[in-house]
Amino acid sequence: MAFTFAAFCYMLALLLTAALIFFAIWHIIAFDELKTDYKNPIDQCNTLNPTVEKVKKIKRVRLALKLVLPEYLIHVFFCIMFLCATEWLSLGLNMPLLAYHVWRYMSRPVMSGPGLYDPTTIMNADILAFCQKEGWCKLAFYLLSFFYYLYG
């Protein structure tokens, strides 16, 4: 197979998917940290006035949560690439996720900046559980598509 645009798309998608997998893992870890935070209770004072270490952790979590938008953009980007390369099958496989992303972003809480997660409701058990599930599903999807692109 010659080095066509389609092949280029797949290679690019492969790389980007690897990045997405990384994001998904980060996402899962972030929510897990949020959730299990209380299982290593520290004195209340510590939680009141977070120690340096804790601040670092919180920042890391925040960063992870902020990666949502890049993730969406990346995904949209290679979807467009597939469209250009008229790789209908690959595009079709990605459409559900694309649609989901669009829906997810449209129904995000009222927010002035970019972002999906509202710090005031993120601790709600339902939302937390949902986000975790979402992370795992996405990870699985990206992994599958990774191999698909690899051999595609």
Binding site: Q44, T47, L48, T120
Partner: protein, 1219 residues
């Protein structure tokens, strides 16, 4: 009057009785039998029994509308919404049915009794009306029928009854004699009752009573004693020799005359309403007793005696009612012994209580103290504790009454027959039913539910706990039983724990769980379809609270739980955590008990004795020095604000309370005003006058001077006072209409971020400039839309982000919104919601034109300025392994799965927590919840307040239902519904509420599959659930179809989220009293004043009469509705006006008059007002004022054009269940 009042009763009573029992009157039977279902409904709705037959003529008139004109007020109102008034027609519409109650008023009680049965019948015919279709012609006919039937029945009844009136009477007196003769009245049941009295005075009260036996106060107690006797007598009839009886009556008579006379006199003055009066006055168990006793005492004549009989039947019927479940407890034996037993047990109670009180006083909180002892007493006394006695939710008074009442009845019961509900024959139902109503002429019905409960509990005294639970499980057919609303405030159920644990458990005022029996697994919880959650009021004002200072605060090393009464000591040196089961060492210091000054008794330490304690925390619990109290006021001074005139009220109030602001010498205050610019005030000590600094750059706000904007209150007090005096005048001529709230808040944040503290924002309009500006989103045409209510969520996240920043810097923002127009509270409220502030809303505030709001504002401010405050607080909620927290509700920022960060904590905020069960709790019998609140007091001390609640775990679905706390469930559902409404939409959340009822009731139904009854069957513990949910659906926050301003709705939602349980309950289901005939019967004695306790009425227009005055307690407002033809003496004696027409609109005060009725009314209203932290405003509603609409919207059992009546709602539920 006495004659008519009581005399009739004999006849009526008898007739009534017989009818149902003997079935002497075929007519009746038929009616009930055939219409059985209908009957039920009537019972529910028609309850008013007595009144029905009074006037056939009335029926004919039945004017639908013409409210002012009619006697039948209730009806009118009821219908007003829906229908047009028709005075003359004899329409069988709904109206007539309901009217019926009113009718009774014209007749003497006697008639009413007779009517009882009649009423049912009529009801049956009417019931259809209820739903809608008019039945022409039926009324007149029925009326005639009744009239005719009455006489017939009377005689037959007597004979049928087989109830020798004389003997009954005789027995009555005799019983008392035997039991009490030597014993002074007070000491007997009465005293015990008092012991349970409210708050601080508990112990004192009991003493008083005892002492005062003979005095007026004793009157109340005295009647009670007879009551007991009566019931006993009834059951015992055969056993007691009639001869003994004679002596007793005289003794009673001495006490009574006074009270009786009073009642009578009233009755006389207002003949038509007399029935009502009796009704109301008598409703409390007391009264009833009174009535019963009364005849005896007053007239020895046999004929009179007969009158008494009605009462006994009542008790009997009640007994049946309740008794059925329990089976007959020692019927025969009970009869002979009961009297003595009861008296003795009471005495014991008394003693116990006294002790308890003292203990409680010593260590537990003040308000609670009264309450907690109560339950304990009961357990101790009776072995089993029943919810009613225990609950004591309200500081106590109501409870006491209930308990008092209950006892007498309870003892009477044993002999009673098995349950009526279980009786197979449909006929039996009606019969029993009727017997209830009829038995006591006017008053009985209302009181019925309550006494029954109490009685049961009393009965249970000797039984084991399971029996108690059985009671909570007793199926109640809601379609049939209308009178499910207790006549005193609903009490929290007591968890089914051992006596010791119960004693130690946290007060239900601070900590309540929706299920007092925790299901073992999530599967079981799902089966029950009830929400599991906690309702907390952690920072409640407590007058007595054990405060512990020690170097080491003993906590579990693994889960950091504070040591609490529910840990177990393995030996002297080790204790086992009750949350994570880790074994910890007992530190050396803990071995010494500072209270008893003894060594080696760690289990006697106050931490282990009290479930609510406060620790003074060491420096381990702070990472920065405790902050000073800092108060910043951000005031809107735009034209709109000046026009509303709030500044004057605010400054005045602040001036008055400047010295009472909580704080120490470090307290600092500051002021910012804003319109389209932001004004700062330099109050630096040494200045001759306050200096105003204007910042007009609202795009990029900066502080004009780095310091001296927040100044030490003590040092700059004079300047602050100058400023407060000058502020109201400074902006009188402003023409600035814009409001730059956002930038002002940013400035406040900058000013406060170094220290943290409290920002109080006063805003009067939609912010229109700078960051955070908002646009009007409300479409007035959509206000009453039944479909979609939009814009419940914030329009911008500016305020939320600001709140989070504030929260991070320990700043709380309290929002006072005083606007007459839409101000987008949904967006503005975020600033308080996430910074743990409070929200106050005064719609259409104007200092002159709206005196009600103005007064409310003033009162709220007084409380706001002087209430306790905790700074830089966090609250962590821990629970036994296996449980986990699902969602929090309230004003705070959730920091972690179990940690709330509260920039400020105030004593008036409540929290709700949804829980889920993650692991099976099968290996544990008890679960515990611990809420620990770490805060900095206004004096700069770091403190930790710890509440621990312990609950049993059950594995049976039935037990889960038995432990359901309907009030807590309702409040939790309200919170969940609000969340749902905001995140999804209103109709979803309304559906979810209805589904909650349907699901839980059908779960109960399937759990008790043996019961094959039609109708809506609910366990006794959940009998109020449909009513509360209906009330919730009609509440401002969640109603549809009725015009509701968006801000009002959003505010109501905010209130649900952050008010404590009691307040939410009043908002959802207001307490409704009739107060134009208050008596001292059953009154509470609080601090030397006598507080009458009128029974709580159902929220239905059928309870209203034009001749009465009614008080509705909705939490933040008290509506006093004065009927058009209200007794003139009441208007002049209490309101101070010669007649109804001269009562001014917008009256908000009751004048201090020297008349007894005025004193009674005032003491009752004051008592209501003082029972909560924010004094509610009294709003006097006349027929023609605009407040009337609000008032009638709160009659939630009635139908409105947009919502179902209670009965219709039940039908709807029934339909859903049977699907």
């Amino acid at each position: 009057m006495s004659v008519p009042g009581f005399n009739p009763s004999p006849a009526a009573g008898l007739s009534r009785h017989p009818t149902p029992n003997g079935g002497a009157a075929p007519l009746y039977q038929n009616g009930p039998g055939q219409t059985y279902p209908l009957m039920q409904s009537q019972a529910g709705y028609g309850a008013p029994h007595p009144h029905y037959n009074s006037a056939p003529g009335h029926y004919a008139q039945m004017p639908k509308k013409a409210p002012p004109v009619n006697n039948q007020y209730g009806m009118n109102y009821y219908q007003n919404n829906n229908q047009q008034p028709m005075q003359t027609t004899a329409r069988p519409e709904m109206a007539p049915v309901f009217r019926a109650p009113q009718v009774h008023s014209s007749r003497p009680p006697v008639s009413s009794q007779v009517v009882g049965p009649t009423s049912n019948v009529s009801m049956s015919s009417a019931s259809p009306l209820h739903t809608g279709p008019p039945q022409p012609g039926s009324y007149p006919a029925s009326a005639g029928y009744y009239g005719g039937s009455m006489p017939l029945v009377g005689p037959a009844g007597t004979s049928a009854q087989g109830f020798p009136p004389l003997s009954a009477l005789a027995t009555v007196p005799s019983a008392p004699n035997s039991a009490y003769p030597t014993v002074s009245f007070p000491s007997a049941p009465g005293s015990s009752q008092y012991g349970t009295l409210p708050s601080s005075q508990t112990s004192a009260a009991s003493h008083n009573l005892v002492g005062t036996g003979p005095t007026p106060s004793s009157v109340s107690t005295a009647p009670r004693a007879p009551l007991q006797q009566v019931s006993l007598g009834h059951s015992v009839t055969s056993s007691w020799p009639s001869s003994a009886a004679v002596s007793a009556p005289p003794s009673y008579s001495g006490n009574f005359p006074g009270t009786i006379a009073a009642i009578n006199s009233k009755a006389n003055t207002v003949p038509p309403s007399s029935a009502n009066h009796l009704d109301q006055s008598c409703q409390p168990p007391w009264n009833r007793t009174f009535g019963a006793v009364h005849p005896t005492a007053g007239s020895p004549a046999p004929g009179r005696l007969a009158t008494v009989t009605p009462t006994p039947p009542v008790s009997a019927s009640l007994a049946q009612h309740e008794g059925m479940q329990y089976g007959n407890v020692a019927n025969s034996s009970a009869s002979s012994a009961p009297a003595p037993l009861s008296s003795s047990s009471d005495d014991e109670d008394d003693d116990d209580e006294g002790e308890e009180d003292e203990e409680a006083g010593a260590d537990s909180s003040s308000t609670t103290s009264s309450a907690s002892p109560v339950p304990n007493n009961y357990e101790a006394l009776e072995g089993g504790s029943y919810p009613d006695t225990s609950s004591k939710l309200p500081p106590g008074p109501p409870v006491s009454q209930a308990s008092k009442v209950a006892k007498p009845f309870g003892y009477g019961y044993p002999s009673l027959q098995p349950a009526y509900q279980q009786t197979p024959a449909p006929c039996s139902h009606p019969t029993n039913f009727q017997s209830f109503n009829p038995s006591s002429p006017g008053y009985q019905q209302d009181s019925k539910p309550y006494p029954t409960m109490n009685q049961l509990s009393a009965d249970l005294g000797g039984l084991s706990l399971p029996a108690l639970q059985l009671e909570a499980l007793r199926p109640v057919n809601l379609m049939q039983d209308r009178n499910i609303l207790p006549s005193t405030e609903v009490q929290a159920p007591l968890p089914n724990l051992s006596t010791d644990l119960k004693k130690a458990n946290c007060s239900s005022d601070s900590f309540r769980c929706t299920l007092t029996n925790i299901p073992q697994t999530q599967a079981l919880l799902n089966k029950a379809k009830l929400p599991l959650g906690l309702l907390l009021h952690p920072f409640r004002d407590l007058t007595q609270l054990p405060v512990i200072t020690s170097n080491t605060i003993v906590r579990c090393r693994s889960c950091r739980t504070y040591i609490n009464p529910f840990v177990s000591f393995l030996d002297q040196r080790r204790w086992k955590c009750n949350l994570c089961y880790r074994v910890n060492d007992v530190p050396e210091e803990f071995m010494y008990n500072p209270l008893t000054r003894s060594y080696g008794e760690p289990h006697k330490r106050p931490e282990v004795q009290n479930s609510t304690v406060e620790f003074i925390a060491s420096s381990d619990y702070m990472l920065r020095p405790p902050q000073p109290a800092v108060y910043l006021f951000v005031l809107d001074v735009s034209h709109n604000a000046v026009e509303a005139g709030y500044l004057n009220v605010l400054c005045q109030s602040l001036l008055e309370n400047l010295d009472k602001l909580p704080g120490d010498t470090r307290t600092r205050v500051g002021f910012i005003t804003f319109d389209s610019t932001i004004h700062f005030y330099n109050l630096q000590e040494g200045l001759s006058q306050p200096q105003m600094l204007v910042v007009s750059d609202i795009e990029d706000v900066f502080l004009p001077t780095p310091d001296s904007l927040l100044v030490n209150l003590k040092e700059s007090k004079e300047l602050v006072k100058d400023l407060l005096n000058a502020l109201p005048c400074m902006f009188t001529n402003t023409r600035e209409t814009h409001s730059a709230l956002g930038p002002a808040l940013q400035a406040a944040f900058k000013l406060m971020s170094a220290t943290g503290g409290r920002v109080s924002v006063f805003q009067t309009q939609l912010p229109s400039l700078g960051a955070g500006l908002l646009h009007s989103r409300e479409d007035p045409n959509q206000r009453s839309s039944a479909k979609v209510v939009q814009h419940l969520g914030p329009a911008t996240d500016f305020y939320k982000k600001l709140a989070l920043d504030c929260s991070g810097q320990q700043i709380a923002v309290d929002l006072f919104l005083l606007s007459s127009q839409y101000s987008d509270l949904a967006s503005l409220a975020c600033v308080s919601k996430y910074s743990a502030g409070s929200i106050f809303y005064y719609p259409s505030f104007h200092h002159v034109h709206n005196p009600v709001q103005a007064e409310k504002f003033q009162k709220d401010l007084r409380r706001y300025f002087t209430r306790k405050i905790g700074f830089e607080a966090v609250m962590r909620i821990r629970c036994t392994k296996g449980l986990s927290i699902h969602t929090f509700h309230g004003n705070f920022f959730v920091r972690s799965t179990d940690l709330l960060s509260l920039a400020n904590v105030n004593p008036d905020s409540g929290f709700a927590v949804q829980m889920s069960i993650e692991e099976s709790l099968a290996d544990t019998a008890l679960v515990c919840f611990q809420a620990a609140l770490l805060y900095t007091s206004s004096k700069g001390k770091r403190r930790i307040r710890v509440h621990t609640l312990c609950l049993p775990v059950v594995s049976q679905l039935n037990d889960v239902f038995a432990g359901a706390d309907v009030q807590a469930i309702t409040c939790l559902l309200a919170n969940m519904a609000v969340d749902r409404a905001i995140s999804s939409n209103l109709s979803d959340s309304r559906d979810a509420l209805v589904n909650a009822v349907v699901d839980s009731l059908s779960a109960y139904r399937s759990a008790t599959s043996s019961l094959q009854q039609s109708g809506v069957i609910a366990p006794y513990s959940l009998r109020l659930f449909p009513l509360y949910v209906l009330a919730l659906l009609k509440q401002k926050a969640l109603r549809t179809g009725t015009s509701t301003r968006l801000d009002d709705r959003v505010f109501a939602m905010c209130e649900f989220k952050c008010q404590p349980l009691q307040q939410i309950m009043r908002m959802i289901h207001p307490n409704f009293y009739r107060i134009d005939n208050l008596t001292d019967e059953g009154a509470l004695h609080v601090n030397d004043s006598i507080v009458p306790q009128p029974p709580i009425l159902q929220l239905s227009a059928e309870r209203l009469t034009r001749e009465g005055a009614f008080l509705m307690d909705c939490g933040s407002v008290l509506y006093l509705w004065v009927g058009k033809s209200c007794d003139v003496t009441f208007i002049s004696d209490v309101l101070g006006y010669p007649n109804h027409a001269s009562i001014p609109q917008n009256m908000t005060q009751i004048p201090e008059l020297e008349t007894p009725s005025s004193e009674r009314t005032r003491s009752f209203i004051t008592w209501l007002q003082e029972n909560r932290s924010f004094n509610p405003v009294l709003c006097i509603v006349k027929d023609d004022t605009s407040a009337k609409t609000n008032f009638f919207q709160l009659l939630i059992e009635d139908r409105t054009e947009a919502a179902l009546s209670y009965y219709e709602f039940l039908l709807h539920i029934q339909q859903q269940i049977s699907k």
